[in-house]
């Protein structure tokens, strides 16, 4: 909002420079964003907090300035010399919805001469960014910026039966507003109507039909107090934001209605001629109650630590318009001024005292410490997880929580098909109206974004919440998920050429490293059919026997949809479940004193036999000194039948008290191998 330095000077006689005013107003809560240096004035751009509607005018700002400077605001006189007749003789006012319009005052000025405003008025309006129209419109606008009370001038001749009816719009009614737009009205909107039809949208904008024109001779000046929420709703529904609605929404002064109107009428008589009615036709069936709030002076220090004399508290509050109602030994009781809708409790008064004493006077100190800090219980493991994945070349992604459809994706087990999608009624990005049930969609979009920008090496992970609704009417499920995608080449730092292409085992290795970093027991990967994964390159992941996720190569159908022309590997895990698992205890195992003897054996087995099955079968053998078998490699191709492959395992043997002899080892080793051969119908190559 623009405030003129000259205008403030007229109201308070301020001695402060524009720069001083900027700083002082900012310090009391009216942040001045900028001071514009005009030829003969300075204009402040003031940011008024949303609860301080009373400061949306020059008098409102001047009041704060007067408290700062210990001066007075001189409210301009509004004496009307030329009066005749009562308003009620020429017009009527009826309020049909007192909740939405507690007060409505009308006053008439006859025989005005519509024309241009005098120079001083044009200059004043232009200085604060207002466009002059004609003298009557300019005067209402001027008083709005002076008092903060929006006013409206009707052409009296255009009001059917000279009636003002304040009511809700009827079904199907519409109005052409001042901006020339035909607007449909809804029944919850408050309008000003004459005997026939709406002539203004209450508190928002007048109608074109009853607008002041060059032919107008008699004007009816409206000054009213409208319900803030009602004006806000209406303005929002109509997509209108006007100087009037801006102020009514924040609450104007119900007791200031007449003063502003008198000022307006006086200026019209002075600048446009005419004769005013003697009084306002003021409909105010239920006057607002004055609220009183108690302030215990000790609370100022208890809340702010500021030590302020009681006299100073009294001075600040009374200068702001709070009337001292009663003074007892420990508490002062103040009447809240009618323009301060934001004050209702003691803490509000404490703030008034504190901001005019100065927040900069508040000392700084740390609260006494008797708490130990603590991270979220999962944070240590999440940090380990993030570190492990980034060490494996994965970048951390964050996607929006809203997505489009996710039909082709198999969700982690906590979100199986029984769970329905959480849908938004009011999405901001078209089509993204669902809360994500999987992180994979976001990550695949990220892959697409990168490919579209010519980056074909993309390895990223994301940790975040996914949502599902399991029971109508109850709060949705929220679970943490971990997802990874990898595509393109395996890259080395500072080298242009990828070492090789990413495959299934790179992604699996990253997941295994992350699980190890979190100190959890190893996961199990088993071949499985997963809807969004390519058959034969997909696995189900379990932890402690419970299914926690899936991983594999993205199914061709989905890859085609995303226009991926290179293999993309994806994984998603139920992070909530992983974080709930107990970490593995770390215990020292004594180091072997004698070396192991190893034997590599290549077994020719059916392709369907997995390495995990072979390793498990080997582990199930328990002869003395057999320490287990470790995977070495697989071979298929030349010399191997199509339905077979060769799997090489390294068998390890060790004794605690000696280095074993070859013949000793052979005596244990070959029976182990024989057992495997028999179990898998394998041959030793």
């Amino acid at each position: 909002m623009f405030i003129s330095y000259n205008w403030l000077r007229e109201l308070t006689g301020t001695k402060l420079s524009p720069e001083e005013i900027r700083d002082r107003l900012t310090n009391v809560g009216l942040a001045v964003d900028a001071v514009a240096d005009r030829s003969d004035d300075f204009i402040f751009d003031v940011e008024v907090p949303s609860n301080r509607g009373d400061c949306l005018s020059h008098i409102g700002v001047a009041r704060e300035l007067a408290v700062i400077e210990r001066s007075q605001v001189s409210i301009p006189k509004s004496e009307v010399s030329n009066v005749s007749g009562k308003t009620s003789e020429s017009a009527s006012v009826e309020i049909r919805d007192v909740d939405l319009c507690p007060r409505y005052a009308a006053r008439i000025v006859r025989n005005v001469k519509i024309g241009l405003s005098p120079d001083w008025l044009v200059k004043k309006l232009e200085a604060i960014g207002q466009r002059p129209i004609n003298n009557v419109a300019d005067i209402t606008n001027y008083v709005l910026h002076e008092f903060g009370q929006p006013l409206h001038a009707f052409d009296l001749a255009k009001l059917t039966d000279r009636k003002i009816i304040v009511r809700r719009a009827a079904k199907g009614e519409s109005i052409k507003t001042l901006d020339g737009v035909e607007r449909k009205l809804e029944e919850q909107m408050l309008v000003i109507a004459d005997a026939k039809a709406p002539v203004a949208v209450a508190g928002v904008m007048g109608g074109e039909f009853s607008e002041i024109s060059n032919l107008t001779t008699d004007v009816l000046i409206e000054s009213a107090y409208f319900n803030p929420s009602s004006v806000r709703r209406t303005a929002k529904l109509l997509g209108l934001h006007t100087e009037a609605s801006h102020r009514f929404e924040r609450g104007t002064d119900p007791e200031g209605v007449i003063a502003a109107q008198s000022r307006c009428v006086a200026l019209i008589c002075e600048l446009a001629g005419g004769t005013a009615t003697e009084d306002a036709l003021d409909v105010y069936p239920k006057p607002m109650q004055t609220m009183s709030v108690a302030l215990r002076p000790a609370r100022v220090e208890a809340i702010t630590s500021l030590q302020v004399e009681v006299d100073e508290m009294r001075r600040i509050l009374s200068a702001l318009g709070f009337g001292l109602r009663a003074e007892e030994s420990r508490a002062l009781s103040f009447d809240v001024p009618s323009w301060r809708h934001d004050v209702s409790i003691e803490e509000d008064l404490v703030e008034e005292v504190a901001r005019h004493t100065g927040y900069d006077k508040i000392e700084t100190s740390l609260p006494p410490a008797h708490h130990a800090g603590e991270y979220h219980e999962s944070e240590e493991r999440k940090r380990a997880l993030r570190r492990a994945l980034s060490a494996h070349g994965f970048g951390e992604a964050i996607n929006l929580s809203f997505i489009e459809l996710a039909n082709d994706f198999e969700l982690i087990s906590a979100f199986n098909a029984a769970t329905s999608v959480v849908t938004l009624t009011n999405p901001i990005i078209e089509e993204s109206s669902r809360m994500r049930q999987t992180l994979l969609l976001g990550l695949l979009n990220s892959v697409r974004h990168n490919l579209n920008h010519g980056i074909r090496e993309v390895s990223v992970f994301e940790m975040g919440r996914i949502f599902g609704s399991n029971e109508k009417g109850s709060l949705p499920l929220e679970r943490e998920s971990l997802a990874l995608v990898a595509t393109g080449g395996i890259q080395e730092a500072d080298r242009a050429q990828p070492a090789r292409e990413v495959d299934f085992y790179d992604l699996k290795g990253a997941i295994e490293a992350a699980i190890e970093a979190m100190n959890l027991p190893p996961l199990t990967f088993e071949p499985a059919t997963v809807r969004h994964l390519r058959p034969g390159q997909s696995a189900e992941i379990s932890a402690n026997g419970a299914r926690v996720g899936t991983m594999g190569r993205l199914a061709d159908l989905i890859a085609v949809e995303y226009k991926f022309r290179q293999p993309v590997f994806v994984a998603e895990l139920d992070l909530t479940t992983l974080l709930e698992m107990s970490p593995q205890p770390v215990l020292y195992a004594p180091l072997p004193r004698f070396p192991s003897i190893v034997r590599d054996v290549s077994l020719l087995v059916n392709r369907a036999v997995t390495v995990a099955e072979l390793a498990k079968a080997a582990a199930d053998q328990t002869p003395a000194h057999f320490m287990g078998a470790t995977f070495v490699g697989t071979y298929e191709g030349e010399g191997i039948p199509d339905n077979k492959r060769s799997v090489t395992l390294r068998f390890e043997y060790r004794a605690d008290d000696r280095t074993m002899r070859d013949d000793e080892v052979d005596a244990i080793h070959w029976p182990v191998v024989e057992a495997l051969k028999k179990q898998f119908n394998a041959e030793v190559r």
Binding site: K236, S305, R355, T364, S365, H370, G395, S401
Partner: protein, 370 residues
Amino acid sequence: MGSSKEEITVAERNPNQEVEAAREAFEREFERFARFTGSGVDISLNDANTEQRALAELRTKHLGKKSAIAGAKKLIGKVAPEERASFGQLVQQTEGSIAQRIDEAEQSLKSLIEAARIERERIDVTIPGRRPRPGHLHPITLMRQRIEDIFVSLGYAVEDDREIETDFYNFDALNIPEGHPARDPQDTFYTTEGFALRSQTSTVQIHAMQRRGAPVRMIAPGRVFRRDTPDPTHNPMFFQVEGLCVDRGITMAHLKGTLAEFVHRLFGPDTKTRFRPSYFPFTEPSAEVDYSCFNCGGPGCRICKWSGWIELGGSGMVHPNVLRAANVDPGEFTGFAFGLGIDRTCARIYQLDDIRLLFENDVRFLEQFR
């Protein structure tokens, strides 16, 4: 006849001349090797190896069993006794000097070969080291971790709670009354079931006070949602950190002290703070907090929009209605609360001109943070 002619020839030449001839023959053939003992020899590894073999052949030829010197040695016993000693000496001397010359050349060649081999195996130590290309944590994660570290060290517990909330936690308990603009579907996302996507992490204040009671000290970093159309300075989702300290005798001085300490640790010990009166429904009194620009330190620059100050966030003393909503007695306890934007702080520190980049996950963007 032939044999007698040879005998005559042998008989004609005396043994001393024999030895002299052998020496001359050696000198002639050795000449090309003499250069290796000098300095600044320029020879390829290949040639050096060839020369080494040639030198070995030269040794066999001039000192081996079939060499002239070996022949001369056999003559020692045959020359006249009075000349035997001096002849023997001559043979030995000649053999010794040939051997020495060859040894020297061999040694030099060996060092030359060694040097050439080392040169051949020289590597370029400036080639980048071999390591996997590291991944990177998201700038929001990095900033969140820094903020958590600071507040944990100040005695705060890190808390979190739901992202989809009831009206009670998102509005009522935070003293945001029915009809307040923040509740408008224009500003807050709602699910079809009527739940709200939390529009501020202040919701966690209520959960934390309900869980822990008072006194309590906690921060709550997390995602929040507001219906802002994406543009360079807005996203419909962003990250905030809420802070709350409730205890007996907490005042605004503690709020100022805590946030001053925080900015010292985040932006450096010279950073100043400024508190301006403001309005938030959940605090009273309320304050907007600014910190002096970490870039220019006051005079004004592009980052602080020429004001010298950067907005940190909102703060204030917890509104008594909020304490009551969480069953904390405002007569006994006071507290302060604050809320900071993680995205915004990231944007300032890293000079991001478009915060939509934060959620685009462009690899070239993500790689820049560590």
